[in-house]
């Protein structure tokens, strides 16, 4: 029940918020209530985290009720390490986003009630997606998340919001619908097998021909590749990110896009291991292209939000690369990366969002020397940026390195080219930072306000986590590892053993030597 | 048998072409009646071939239906004529696109 409760809390919050009186006079109350609900969700998710038994691994806190019997669809929830990490990410980010969005100026006379309500709806749906262990339920929630984002972009975004919202929706819908085709196919396959069921556990045992498996895999993968976004299906993201409010961007890129990579792990690898292996050369190639391409495009951007969006394209490339390298190291790295990227991108979007809101422009060219007037903001941007370029000591490094190291054992060229991303990352972040923060103060920025205490409070948790997990990622990895092991054994691909393994006794000796 | 069916088909085709080329709504409607009649011929001919009366019954129903249809159709044509003072179907082209 706790998972249902977890998902339902923000939805309930959305309902409450919608019912609260509208108007600017009540805006603070509305936001406070929303933050309250999201904090409650966070607390619940911590309870889930605490109750999750790391030792035994697998799916826990499962719930299962028949939902649509004819379709073989179950209301079936459960978390494993991977899902848990992403749920935690979601519940952490939503309060942060709400807090940071406190001063968001909404276009027109749009009410803040629906703004925060949509965010809470999104949170609830996202939790559901990460907890679903039934393909149908997963799909339904997966597609349903489009609606809140659509409204968040379309109603509250910048001048190009309509275009961006429609593009976002249609683009993702195309993927989603292809997945629907595959979902339908799954039903047919499993029904032919005797008993129609969408339960993950049942699907893993369904007998299907190689061709069918590949077809279905392609359907799922199309949706996830667009969502993730993988080159060349990424072009919706920069537009969407450039038009959305920072909070929306965070939820979209940090949480919802993770569904893509999460889906690859849980559904592509879990249900179509053979096809995943079959497709891995292509996917790995695209992932590597994404890494380099996203980074290069990010370097060339003038709009800060587009830049961040392209950095995400690059980072998602890493995540996908890790997943399709089929090693426990890279996959665990990818999973951790999802969490870390969520944090670092959130910080990046939020702080640049505040910057942009103050300047009234997102063009890098309109900034310069901000560091002088807003040192705290500058520092926060730097830390966020450094985490984005995977500086060791900050959380994303650990995951990125794991991805690369794992990939290296599988494919040296892929890892080597992907490592280029390390250099390019330094370029896009530092060039942007240099142009925005350093140099003489640009005209028109004299009155630029530094971060206020509420904003610092909103951003602090992400920064603390970024630094903390950079040095001590083990709590996360402990949760992730068993789940990853399961996935990898599902694929039937172990880690390639080291070619000349170190003699264990020798290693023990050297370690012992110190004491 | 073939000759009856062929005649019926020829009449049917002529009726159909008539619907396409005539502009007077009433004449168009007459062409449809011609098609119905062609159908009836086929029905009666088939009834003759199969030696049961179902085809004739069908033709009978067609006539009844046609009668009702004519009433409704002509009523519609008349009412639209009253409005537009024209019975040309080409004049009814407000709805398009």
């Amino acid at each position: 029940m706790i998972l249902t409760l977890l998902a339902a809390t923000p939805l309930l919050g959305a309902l409450v918020v919608t019912c609260l009186p509208r108007g600017s006079a009540n805006a603070s109350t509305v936001k406070a209530v929303a933050i309250g609900f999201s904090a409650l969700t966070l607390a619940l998710s911590l309870v889930v985290m605490a109750r999750y038994d790391v030792e035994s691994g697998g799916y826990q806190m499962t719930e299962k009720h028949e939902w649509i019997g004819q379709l073989g669809a179950w209301y079936s929830l459960g978390v494993n390490g991977i899902g848990l990490v992403l749920i935690l990410l979601t519940t952490i980010l939503v309060p942060v986003v709400l807090l940071a969005a406190w001063d968001d100026r909404l276009p027109g006379r749009r009410s803040v009630n629906s703004y925060v309500a949509w965010m809470l709806v999104l949170e609830g749906l996202a939790i559901g997606v990460f907890a679903a262990t039934d393909a149908f339920l997963f799909y339904v929630l997966f597609e349903a998340t489009l609606i809140p984002i659509y409204f968040l972009i379309g109603s509250y975004g910048g001048p190009q919001r309509t275009y961006a919202a429609v593009k976002f929706l249609i683009y993702n819908l195309v993927g989603g619908l292809l997945m629907l085709a595959a979902i339908v196919g799954l039903y047919v396959v499993s029904a032919k097998d005797g008993n129609a069921s969408y339960l993950l556990s049942d699907l893993q045992n369904v007998d299907m021909s190689t061709t069918t498996e590949r077809l279905l895999f392609c359907g799922f993968m199309a949706a996830f590749a667009i969502k993730a976004p993988l080159f060349p299906f990424h072009t919706w993201l920069p537009d969407a990110a450039a038009s959305a409010t920072p909070g929306t961007s965070v939820l979209m890129v940090s949480v919802i896009d993770k569904i893509g990579t999460f889906g690859m792990l849980r559904w592509c690898l879990g249900v179509f291991p053979g096809a995943s292996e079959w497709a891995s050369p292509v996917v790995i190639t695209l992932a590597v292209i994404s890494i380099v391409y996203g980074a290069l495009c990010a370097i060339g951007q003038d709009d800060i939000r587009r830049l961040v969006a392209f950095t995400s394209v690059s980072h998602f490339g890493f995540i996908i690369l890790g997943i399709f390298a089929f090693t426990t190291v890279s996959t665990a790295g990818s999973t951790l990366y999802m969490f870390n990227h969520g944090l670092s991108t959130a910080a990046l979007f939020l702080v640049t969002g505040l910057m942009i809101a103050r300047r009234g422009s997102a063009s890098i060219g309109d900034f310069g020397g901000v560091q002088k007037v807003a040192p705290i903001m500058s520092g926060v941007l730097l830390v966020a940026g450094l985490s984005s370029l995977s500086l060791p000591g900050l959380a994303p490094f650990v995951s990125e390195f794991m991805v690369l190291a794992g990939t290296f054992t599988r494919s040296v060229p892929a890892a080597a080219v992907a490592t280029l991303g390390i250099v390019l990352a330094a370029l896009y972040i530092l060039i942007m930072y240099a142009k925005v923060m350093t140099g003489p103060l640009r005209e028109g920025l004299e009155g630029f306000r530094d971060l206020g205490s509420r904003e610092v409070a909103a951003l602090a948790p992400t920064l603390v986590l970024i630094v903390g997990l950079g040095f001590y990622p083990q709590p996360m990895l402990n949760v992730i590892n068993p789940a990853v092991d399961e996935v990898i054994s599902q694929v039937g691909q172990g880690d390639p053993p080291p070619r000349t393994p170190v003699d264990v006794s020798e290693q023990a000796k050297t370690e012992e030597g110190g004491h | 048998m073939t000759e009856y069916l062929s005649l019926s088909l020829i009449l049917f085709t002529i009726g159909a072409v008539g619907v396409l080329v005539r502009r007077n709504a009433i004449v168009v409607f007459m062409c449809i009646e011609l098609m119905l009649n062609a159908t009836n011929l086929a029905l009666v001919a088939f009834a003759h071939q199969h030696g049961n009366l179902d085809g004739q019954i069908a033709a009978f129903f067609v006539m009844v239906v046609a009668a009702a249809e004519v009433v409704v159709g002509l009523a519609i044509i008349v009412s639209i004529y009253r409005t537009r003072r024209s019975a040309s179907v080409d004049d009814a082209d407000l709805l398009k696109g």
Binding site: V140, V174 | I80
Partner: protein, 544 residues
């Protein structure tokens, strides 16, 4: 001659009284009876006092028929068909097949009718007058029309007409021989031709719609009829079961059979609005009074589709490898065309019309799968059950959508131009929200009934071995989604360009209830489709 006939009359054998299962076809009789009562009311009640009794009779009739339908459905017997189990029986000397799918269709038709009746009876939007013209005989814009408005005239005949159409639909869906089917087709069509021309506002286009609908409807029904004649020529009978026997036995002339299939399909394609037989749809949907459009969109499509399925699965089932490719192609053309042309539409009703074309295409996808299940695997979604479910969802959603169209108005009546809908979300969040919901359902977004519907038909197509069709279907869905989404953009994201935004007239409670009920049903069918799906599923195969 007459004298000989008289002389021999006594020698003739008795004609056995037909066996009529009144209990089974009670719902149809109730509707026909209600229509007749309505006619009588027309005759006996003075003009001004007819409205409420007419509404009352219609509503009571529909509700009673609905209740009876439920009873009938529950009392259907299970029969073992050739391969699959079905429920129900052939009644009325073989004229009707009161089976699961048929009675299910009755149910949804009656629900559609009930919802539409709410719109028919809406009087608040036109200052206390019904949405139908007061005196159809007056020329639009004439002094007489003004006079009629002044006098508060209303054509209460629309209620019996609507009930007749409803009875036609119900019979169309259950007709078990081609003659009954043809007559039922006409019974459903004629009242609709008339109703289309009775709009209170924009009467010119309304009359035009009636004319077009009538001419093309008559034209296409002749094709159907000729097809029936050929089928008769092929098999020597109009009964679907007998035709099936002939088809399966491969006796008779194949060209006759194929031509019969082709021409009957043409008639059916026309009724369901499949391309290239769809062209009447946008014009008629746009021109007809919106309540009629709603009823027609939901009802005709449902009835015609079930009849279509019945003919093709029962009578021509043995020749399915001949006709399936055609359905395949038409399905694709219809989907693509409907979806594409919708993009360029600027009129809400017209857009919904094209969307209904696209939906016909989607339904045909399920049809093309022609998956009738297999023994021992009864739980799988079949073409019939998926189409039944789709029709339920589509009907409810489209009635809801048209109901909202009736409410968004400006000085000239309904403001159907899309630009007038800009900013509706701010004006009336409830209406805009509901409309958005219907759009999302049409687009097949999860958590709405439309999604489960799409899922069902695609699954049927896939089960039938047509997975490429499914892929085409989902891609077209994406195109279709574009214009649904565009409406949402307009309502919620766009501020009205010209000064006055859309005015939302306050509808009376009925319309509000209709909208709310449709919305609720749309959501319910998306969240817990189980019960309805179960009904559709257990309707079983067609009984022949």
């Amino acid at each position: 001659m007459s004298s000989t006939a008289l002389l021999t009359a006594t020698d003739l054998p008795d004609i056995a009284a037909p066996e009529i299962q009144y209990a089974l076809i009670g719902p149809v009789f109730i509707i026909l009876g209600a229509a007749l009562v309505g006619i009588v009311l027309e005759a006996v009640l003075p003009r001004g006092k007819r409205f409420l009794p007419q509404v009352g009779v219609a509503v009571v009739g529909v509700v009673a028929a609905l209740a009876d339908t439920v009873w009938v459905y529950r009392s259907l017997d299970t029969v073992q068909g050739s391969s699959l189990e079905g429920r129900g029986q052939v009644a009325l000397e073989g004229a009707l097949s009161i089976d699961g799918p048929g009675v299910f269709t009755w149910g949804i038709l009656l629900v559609f009718a009930l919802l539409s009746l709410g719109l028919f009876a809406e009087r608040r939007l036109e200052n206390g007058l019904s949405p139908f013209t007061g005196r159809a005989a007056d020329a639009p814009g004439s002094a007489g029309e003004a006079e009629a408005v002044e006098a508060g005239l209303e054509h209460t005949e629309v209620f019996p007409l609507m009930l007749f159409a409803l009875s036609g639909m119900m019979l169309f869906a259950t007709a078990n021989d081609l003659i009954t089917m043809f007559v039922a087709l006409e019974v459903l069509s004629l009242p609709l031709y008339l109703l289309c021309g009775l709009a209170r506002r924009r009467r010119l286009v309304s009359q035009e719609a009636a004319l077009k609908y009538f001419l093309l409807g008559a034209f296409s029904s002749v094709f159907f009829l000729y097809g029936a004649a050929l089928a008769y020529g092929f098999s020597g009978s109009f009964g679907l079961a007998e035709i099936d026997l002939a088809v399966s036995a491969r006796t008779g002339d194949q060209p006759l059979l194929l031509a019969a299939i082709a021409l009957i399909a043409v008639g059916m394609f026309f009724k369901i609005g499949a391309a290239p037989f769809h062209q009447w749809t946008p014009d008629v949907y746009q021109g007809a009074p919106t309540p009629v459009t709603a009823f027609m969109a939901a009802g005709t499509k449902a009835a015609a589709f079930i009849a279509f399925l019945r003919v093709f699965f029962v009578a021509f089932g043995g020749a399915q490898w001949d006709w399936r490719p055609t359905i395949w192609v038409v399905a694709i053309i219809t989907m693509v065309l409907g979806a594409l042309v919708s993009i360029a539409q600027t009129d809400v009703k017209r857009m919904l019309a094209y969307s209904s074309v696209a939906h016909a295409g989607f339904l045909l996808v399920g049809f093309a799968g022609a998956y009738v299940g297999s023994a021992g695997n009864e739980d799988r979604i079949t073409s019939v059950s998926s189409i039944l479910f789709y029709l339920s969802v589509y009907g409810v959603s489209s009635i809801g959508a048209f109901a909202i169209v009736t409410v968004v108005r400006d000085a000239g009546g309904e403001a159907t131009h899309l630009s007038r809908w800009a900013g509706l979300g701010k004006e009336s969040p409830f209406l805009a929200g509901c409309f958005a919901l219907f759009m999302l359902s049409f687009a097949g977004i999860p958590l709405t009934g439309g999604f489960i519907g799409k899922w069902g038909i695609f699954s049927a197509a896939w089960s039938g071995g047509y997975w490429p069709l499914v892929v085409v279907g989902v891609l077209v869905s994406a195109v279709a989604a574009y214009f649904y989404v565009r409406v949402i953009v307009l309502m919620f994201f766009t501020d009205p360009t010209d000064a006055p935004g859309p005015t939302v007239a306050a509808p009376s409670r009925v319309t509000t209830v209709v909208i709310a009920a449709s919305a609720a049903a749309t959501v319910a069918l998306g969240l817990v489709p189980g019960p309805v799906l179960d009904l559709a599923q257990h309707a079983g195969a067609f009984v022949r």
